[in-house]
């Protein structure tokens, strides 16, 4: 799913500035599942903002709401009245939802309360790990179901590099935790599958024009377009 993390409160406060009527808008799909921006979290942020406004002696009317999915026009219709009443919308949705709101309600002010960070998988409850790079040209059929674009720190097509040690990447997380070497994992699983020969193939350079590097992408389903 798309995961996001709430921005530091200072950043949110800076974006809100001195706006009086604030609507905190949650989204009940991906960001709710990753416990960052659902209705629950929108209510919490609204409460925090009210406390802060009170602390600062600022007049403010801070409400919260949530859309079932902030990236769909029909669901945004359902919260349109609340948006119209607000001076600013603080959206807790992923970047897609925030932009959808900004577009639908343009020129209303819509600002992000979260940093959308990855296409992540809940490895266990409350732990998400990056899994997909949305590169537009998936190769994991040849890499034992492990993405070398985003799980390898250097996006190698022919890994591992010389920094792989004890199955771990030479890079650690900002918190100094180990990262698994994706190519080590690929090698181990290819062996388990009896497909080691895939490790010996010299894979050509990746076609990055299919990724966001090639420009913003578009997808159309002609057969499903309204008649």
């Amino acid at each position: 799913m798309i995961t996001a993390e709430r921005k530091p409160l200072d950043e949110i406060l800076a974006l809100v500035g001195d706006k009086k009527k604030v609507l905190v808008a949650g989204c009940d799909t991906c960001v709710a599942i990753c416990l960052t921006g659902g209705e629950k979290e929108a209510e919490i942020l609204a409460s925090e903002l009210r406390i802060k406004a009170e602390q600062d002696g600022r007049e403010a009317s801070i409400e919260h709401t949530a859309a079932i999915r902030q990236c769909e026009w029909e669901y945004l219709d359902m919260i349109a009245d609340k948006v119209k009443d607000a001076d600013i919308v603080v959206s807790m949705a992923c970047g897609i939802g925030i932009q959808s709101m900004a577009e639908k309600f343009s020129p209303a002010l819509v600002v992000p309360a979260v940093n959308t960070n990855m296409l992540g998988m809940p490895q266990e409850h409350a732990l998400w790990l990056e899994r997909c790079g949305a590169c537009g040209d998936c190769v994991i059929g040849e890499t034992a179901g492990i993405c070398p674009v985003v799980r390898c720190s250097k996006s190698l097509m022919n890994g591992p590099c010389g920094g792989s040690h004890d199955g771990k990447c030479e890079v650690t997380t900002p918190e100094k935790e180990d990262i698994d070497c994706a190519w080590h994992l690929i090698w181990e699983r290819l062996k388990a599958q009896g497909r080691e020969e895939l490790m010996y193939v010299n894979r050509p350079p990746k076609n990055w024009s299919k990724s966001s590097s090639g420009g913003p992408r578009k997808m159309v389903r002609e057969e499903a377009k309204p008649v």
Partner: protein, 314 residues
């Protein structure tokens, strides 16, 4: 062998092709616009090594680019091995740079993945990694042998290159390492340098696997060595440098000697012993001395190891 049979005709290529034991050194460009540093380092190493690696933003720390420093080294009579990583440039820049290097007379190129940005002084930079080292080797080989750009277009004048790569005999997965070298050979690498070796028995094991698949006859293997200045350096390499295997005996040996000149002497002695042992291993075509910021140690080590004079080739 006539000049036309060489791929690039560099000093390094000739020595290795003639089956002579090669010695290469390493040189880090300065972290400023100081054009005099390379001249000094070249002065120290000239005559003691056959060619010198010029590093490319090593450990993701910005330095003068390797093309310019390599050109300077050659101006001062020391052949350069220009290093190129995949971290900082995309395929356009890497092709443009190799054409530029070739125009400047640089012939040896070492193709590397590159240390991750997070190790260096600009961790917020966007890592490029358009290609990996294997893609890079093949791209340069095709430019040289087929006069073709990576996109397939032809070029009238192909660069003359002697293509190298690096390999870590102690990286994991260990069982795959010899096979990874095979991939680089198939991609087109002519010579390779290993990361620095301290664990000779383990290196011998790796060479055994390399010989088992005949790679030593398809690519020239130079064993990497770093002389230790003291126990601090030994411990640092053991604990903080990714992929390094430093046996405890070496740390103990270095710690048994007093710091300063006694430790320097011991480090050089150890390096010489290692060179002699490594030179005996079948399939090792030379040694790559990485005495970074201790270039002064190289002349003495090379001499004590009995590797002087360096061969002069046509």
């Amino acid at each position: 062998m006539t000049a036309t049979e060489y791929k690039a005709g560099s000093n390094l290529e000739k020595i290795l092709t003639e089956g002579k034991f090669a010695v290469t050194g390493e040189c880090g460009p300065p972290k400023s616009a100081d054009g005099s540093i390379i001249e000094n380092k070249a002065g120290i190493l000239k005559g003691f090594v056959d060619a010198v690696n010029i590093t490319d933003n090593q450990t993701a720390v910005v330095r003068v680019c390797s093309m310019v420093s390599g050109y300077q080294a050659q101006q001062h009579g020391l052949e350069a091995i220009m290093q190129m990583t995949c971290r900082d440039r995309n395929r356009l820049a890497m092709q443009a740079d190799i054409l530029g290097a070739s125009v400047l007379g640089i012939k040896n190129i070492l193709c590397l993945t590159g240390d991750h940005m997070s190790f260096g002084n600009h961790p917020e930079a966007k890592g490029v990694h358009d290609l990996d080292a294997i893609n890079l080797i093949k791209m340069y080989k095709d430019m040289r042998d087929e006069a073709r750009f990576q996109c397939g277009e032809e070029m009238p004048v192909a660069p003359k290159l002697y293509i190298g790569c690096a390999e870590n005999p102690f990286g994991d997965p260990f069982e795959f390492r010899a096979l990874r070298l095979k991939k680089k050979v198939e991609a087109g690498a002519d010579f390779m340098q290993t990361q620095c070796i301290f664990n000779i028995p383990k290196f011998k094991e790796w060479m055994k696997e390399v010989r088992a698949i005949g790679l030593h006859q398809e690519i020239k293997i130079l064993a990497g060595l770093t002389p230790l200045k003291g126990v601090g350096a030994a411990k640092y390499m053991k604990n903080f440098v990714p992929g390094m295997d430093v046996p405890q005996e070496i740390v103990d040996r270095m710690s048994s000697v007093e710091k300063g000149p006694p430790a320097h002497a011991e480090g050089k002695k150890l390096a010489v012993e290692m060179i002699k042992e490594i030179a005996e291993i079948e399939g090792v075509a030379g040694v790559h001395l990485m005495a970074v910021e201790w270039e002064e140690a190289v002349p003495e080590i090379v001499e004590m190891a009995g590797l002087l004079p360096r061969p002069a080739v046509a």
